[in-house]
């Protein structure tokens, strides 16, 4: 009885994916126990919720996900507009929407809703994807990204933009066009630059010369690079990182938790993290490559690359080669919302992997 129940529970679960995610969660606990021990209990709650979400989604068929795409996307956009009109301001940004019971951050929904929507759209046009379809996709992408960037929440905007772009890329946007876009993007920097907020510009400039303002804008990045560098090959040991324990690393349980890993576990710890992320991405890309339909392929590919984007942008910014944007280290940073989103993505990958039969040819 119990055995059969257990078998039913784990049936839709993809073990390699779960194993990599679980390893990351395990690492997260060890690191959090050093960086901010009093948050362990609430992070355990977050993980439980996220695992339940994962299991529920993994159970769903890709068709049901397809059906959810348009309503989810429209709801997301509607909420983003609502945020722009009535949102709560916190730390100078209008990101939250108070819905009576609790406050929600609609931009978070778009991280999943966006690839879902675009994958759905391309699936609908599968027989003959024309150039104007890319234009429609671009419009579907840029409207919510614009709303998020306006909040302002550059980190989420970049994540949503990239997740949508990955779908368009996998859908077959020609290389010429991609390269053209890249060149145009570089050319647009001088045009976009004046539109950025002062603090956003400062973050970019700080990247090139953090020591110009060591106690102000450069402080985060200087302290995190000191933490990483002083970790050396094998780290200072768990609970022994002076930068961490003496609170020189800002946001050390959330966006800058990678500095804690680096300081206390050294290059070795960083390598372990990189390898696990690679395994996770490799597994995701394998699932995408073997997915039966265009929708599932695009969705799996985009979600997998979203994991990559999270990891690369976060480690890049903490180690000082990318500007500081609010992107957490996937599965490691403390925080419920990001964790649920990530496990939702894992659940979708599992759903795609375990439901090949239900796909129409």
């Amino acid at each position: 009885m119990i055995r059969r129940f257990w078998a039913a529970v784990i049936r839709p679960i993809d073990m390699p994916l779960l194993a990599t995610a679980a390893t990351l969660i395990g690492i997260a606990f060890v690191v959090l126990a050093s960086a901010s021990p009093d948050r362990l209990a609430s992070q355990a709650v977050n993980i439980t919720v996220a695992l339940v979400v994962m299991r529920v989604v993994a159970q769903m068929s890709p068709q049901r996900l397809m059906h959810a795409a348009l309503p989810l996307y429209l709801t997301g956009v509607a909420l983003l507009i609502a945020v722009a009109l009535f949102g709560d301001v916190s730390k100078g940004a209008r990101r939250w929407l108070n819905i009576g019971v609790t406050r929600i951050q609609p931009s978070e929904i778009m991280k999943i809703a966006m690839p879902l929507m675009l994958a759905w759209y391309f699936q609908k046009r599968e027989i003959a994807i024309r150039f104007h379809d890319y234009l429609v996709a671009a419009a579907l992408l840029l409207v919510p990204v614009g709303l998020i960037a306006k909040q302002p929440d550059l980190g989420t905007a970049i994540l949503v933009l990239s997740s949508g772009f990955y779908v368009i890329f996998f859908a077959g946007l020609s290389w010429k066009f991609i390269i053209g876009l890249g060149v145009a993007g570089l050319g647009a920097i001088p045009l976009v630059w004046p539109l950025l907020h002062d603090y956003q510009r400062a973050r970019v400039l700080t990247l090139f010369d953090p020591e110009s303002d060591p106690l102000g804008k450069g402080f985060h990045i200087i302290q995190s690079t000191i933490a990483i560098g002083s970790g050396g090959l094998f780290g200072k040991g768990w609970g022994q990182g002076t930068q961490t324990q003496l609170e020189f690393i800002p946001e050390r349980h959330t966006d800058f938790i990678f500095a804690v890993v680096s300081e206390e576990w050294g290059l070795l710890g960083n390598l372990v993290l990189l390898v696990i992320y690679l395994l996770l991405i490799a597994r995701g890309l394998t699932i995408a490559a073997n997915a039966p339909t265009l929708f599932t392929r695009l969705l799996a590919g985009a979600i997998t690359l979203m994991f990559f984007t999270y990891a690369f942008v976060n480690m890049g910014m903490v180690s000082g080669i990318l500007p500081v944007v609010g992107v957490p280290l996937p599965f490691i940073s403390y925080g419920g919302t990001a964790l649920v989103t990530l496990f939702l993505g894992i659940g979708i990958l599992m759903s795609i992997h375990k439901n090949p039969m239900l796909v129409q040819k």
């Binding site: 077959g172 002076t242 020189f248 392929r297």
Partner: protein
């Protein structure tokens, strides 16, 4: 840009998966290179940076050296007490905070005033005391309410204390909070590092002159700090080395007797041991309480001290320039002998005046002293004898001779800011005045110099040094207050060796004549009343310095306002045969020297030579006669 074949689409998709895979590997490789750069190549640099972050070196202020008298009586010491301090930059509304604070601890208007003054003088990030010497009960109350006062801290600090209050204040001086001017001096001495945690600096007197001896070496504490700069724990500690202790040549008891002897009078006194130059007592009254300056003086007290007509902040012993009056006469007589202008036996006739250049110089004694030889001229203080002598010697001879005894020059005592005084000569007058008619020296001006009036003004340290040199047969020792400097750590004692700066070539027989006459002063002359019944033989000379010219009128004490009364002076040494103490006393507006100044000298000699402690301040000898 379209494809209808799903198989072709799948193939393209898979090729793009491969491209993406390569891209992912590439990006991770970049990260890995970055980690290698930071954690391997730059490891040592970042390790050092992390250590610098973590460890803060905080200076530990050394205990200031003590100042004790020659018998070990402590005159300046330190004690530890709590202070409540405010860092203005961390407090939004200062006045409101102080109001709130005053409900917890006792804050008086003078504390507020002092704080305001400190605030004006300080930089914003310093923590400044609002209350010092907080009681244990107040400490407890403050700690219980501490959370309400961000930017307000309690500190254990060492305080300088002058246990006898205003006693000997001009000699000891005081310390106060370090100012920019002090910082320049610290930099000059290359002591910046050593003074990093130091808040006080010697401002006057011995505290100032021996600042770098008294300060000691700062210790350092390696403290682990968090990002907010709060100390987490102490890692290592280099203890501070206390400053050196100063042992003075001064006898505190003698100093006390001397100060009390002045009663309510203003004035100055310097007593020197002739054979070493060691200062036994140095008085300038009125005094001030140096304790007021230690925590920063409040504006009320500061104004009170600075605006007082009695000028308590002026060290009269070193900075008060007064005409020497008749105390100049023994030196004039000695000059006459040395220059061969007089013999001891040679007499003059004093009709009570001396005419020169159409002007009559009056003798103080109506009708004059009659026939007077050198001995009588000193014992009776005959003016006419010296009017004539001054004219015979000439101003430049007088100046040349007097210069040897240190008149008109800094004595070199170990307290800064000593005045030079004025030893007039033709050359001095040329330099002093601008207009040619003023620059010329008139022979008539020499006459009053003979009796210690006119242009000349000297400090009491100069008078004391001169009489000590005379007592010591012409050998001049540099006057000094510090006898030994003790290294508190090693116990090593550095002795300030008596420094014979010169030997004035004087014939012993001439010296004998002068000394003998000065003994006569105290035996049968103007000092006889003050020294009646003394169990030792002393030598002295009274003097009176005119505060303003009477223009021919007879000076009458009762009819002259207190601040216009003459200054009383007295120089003396004892025992006459082998002097162990020599002194100069000045009593401002004290009238005749014999009246006000000589009795003070008597009390000092009685105590120093016989151990007699006087019962009351030196009584004014109203019947005394002078000049």
């Amino acid at each position: 840009m379209e494809f209808k074949n799903p198989e072709a689409g799948l193939e393209q998709f898979r090729s793009r998966i491969n491209v993406v895979g390569a891209l992912v590997l590439g990006c991770f490789a970049i990260l890995l290179l970055r980690f290698l750069w930071l954690q391997v190549v730059q490891y040592n640099y970042y390790k050092t940076r992390a250590e610098e972050n973590r460890i803060s070196l905080s200076p530990v202020t050394p205990n200031r050296g003590l100042i004790v008298d020659r018998n070990g009586v402590v005159m300046a010491r330190n004690y530890s007490a709590y202070t409540i301090e405010i860092t203005p930059s961390k407090v939004a509304r200062l006045d409101q905070t102080i109001d709130e604070l005053s409900k917890v601890i006792n804050i008086e208007p003078k504390d507020r005033k002092r704080f305001k003054k400190l605030l004006e003088e300080s930089k914003n990030f310093e923590s400044l005391p609002i209350r010092t010497r907080v009681s244990d009960e107040e400490v407890a109350r403050f700690i219980a309410n501490r959370y309400r006062f961000p930017g307000v801290d309690i500190q254990a600090r060492l305080f300088r204390q002058y246990p006898f209050g205003s006693f000997a204040s001009h000699m000891l001086g005081y310390i106060g909070r370090v100012t920019d001017r002090d910082l320049d001096k610290i930099e000059e001495q290359d002591q910046d590092e050593n003074y990093r945690g130091t808040e006080h600096f010697g401002k006057a007197g011995l505290e100032q002159h021996y600042e770098f001896e008294l300060h000691g070496r700062s210790g350092f504490e390696q403290v682990e700090v968090d990002s907010g700069g709060h100390a987490v724990r102490t890692l290592a500690r280099t203890p501070p080395i206390s400053g050196n202790n100063l042992t003075l040549t001064v006898d505190a008891k003698l100093q006390e007797i001397a100060e009390k002897a002045f009663g309510d009078h203003k004035g100055a006194l310097v007593a020197i041991e002739p054979s070493t130059g060691g200062v036994l007592a140095m008085v300038s009254v009125p005094n001030y309480d140096p304790n007021l300056f230690v925590d920063g003086i409040d504006s009320t007290n500061w104004d009170l001290l600075n605006n007082s007509p009695d000028k308590p902040m002026v060290n009269r012993a070193l900075n008060g320039g007064y005409p020497p009056g008749s105390t100049f006469k023994p030196y004039m007589a000695l000059a006459a002998l040395e220059y061969g202008k007089r013999t001891p036996e040679q007499t003059i006739f004093d009709p009570g005046f001396y005419n020169f250049g159409g002007h009559q110089f009056r003798d103080d004694k109506k009708g004059g002293h009659g026939t007077v030889n050198m001995y009588a001229s000193i014992v009776q203080s005959c003016d006419t004898y010296y009017y004539m002598l001054a004219n015979d010697l000439g101003i430049d001879n007088i100046a040349k001779f007097m210069r040897q005894f240190g008149f008109g020059q800094k004595s070199g005592i170990d307290i800064a800011g000593e005045s030079e005084g004025v030893l007039p000569s033709q050359e001095w007058k040329r330099a002093r005045f601008k207009k040619p008619e003023q620059q010329k020296w008139y022979a008539g001006e020499t006459i009053s110099i003979g009796i210690g009036q006119g242009y000349n003004t000297y400090t009491q340290i100069q008078l004391a040094l001169a009489v000590a040199t005379l007592a010591n047969n012409g050998v001049m020792y540099k006057p000094h207050l510090v006898k030994t400097i003790t290294d508190t750590r090693t116990g090593h004692i550095t002795t300030v060796e008596p420094n014979p700066i010169k030997t004035i070539p004087i014939k012993p027989e001439n010296l004998e004549v002068i000394k003998n006459a000065m003994i006569g002063v105290n035996k049968e002359g103007t000092g006889a009343r003050a020294f009646a019944g003394a169990e030792y033989v002393s030598a002295g000379k009274t003097g009176t310095a005119q505060v303003f010219s009477l223009k021919g009128k007879k000076y009458s004490e009762g009819g002259t306002k207190e601040h216009l009364r003459d200054h009383a002076l007295f120089i003396a040494f004892a025992p006459a045969e082998k002097p162990t103490i020599a002194l100069a006393v000045l009593v401002e507006n004290g009238g005749f020297g014999a009246q006000a100044a000589a009795p003070i000298a008597r009390q000092i000699f009685d105590y120093y030579l016989l151990g007699k402690v006087p019962a009351a301040p030196a009584a004014e000898d109203s019947a005394g006669e002078d000049q």
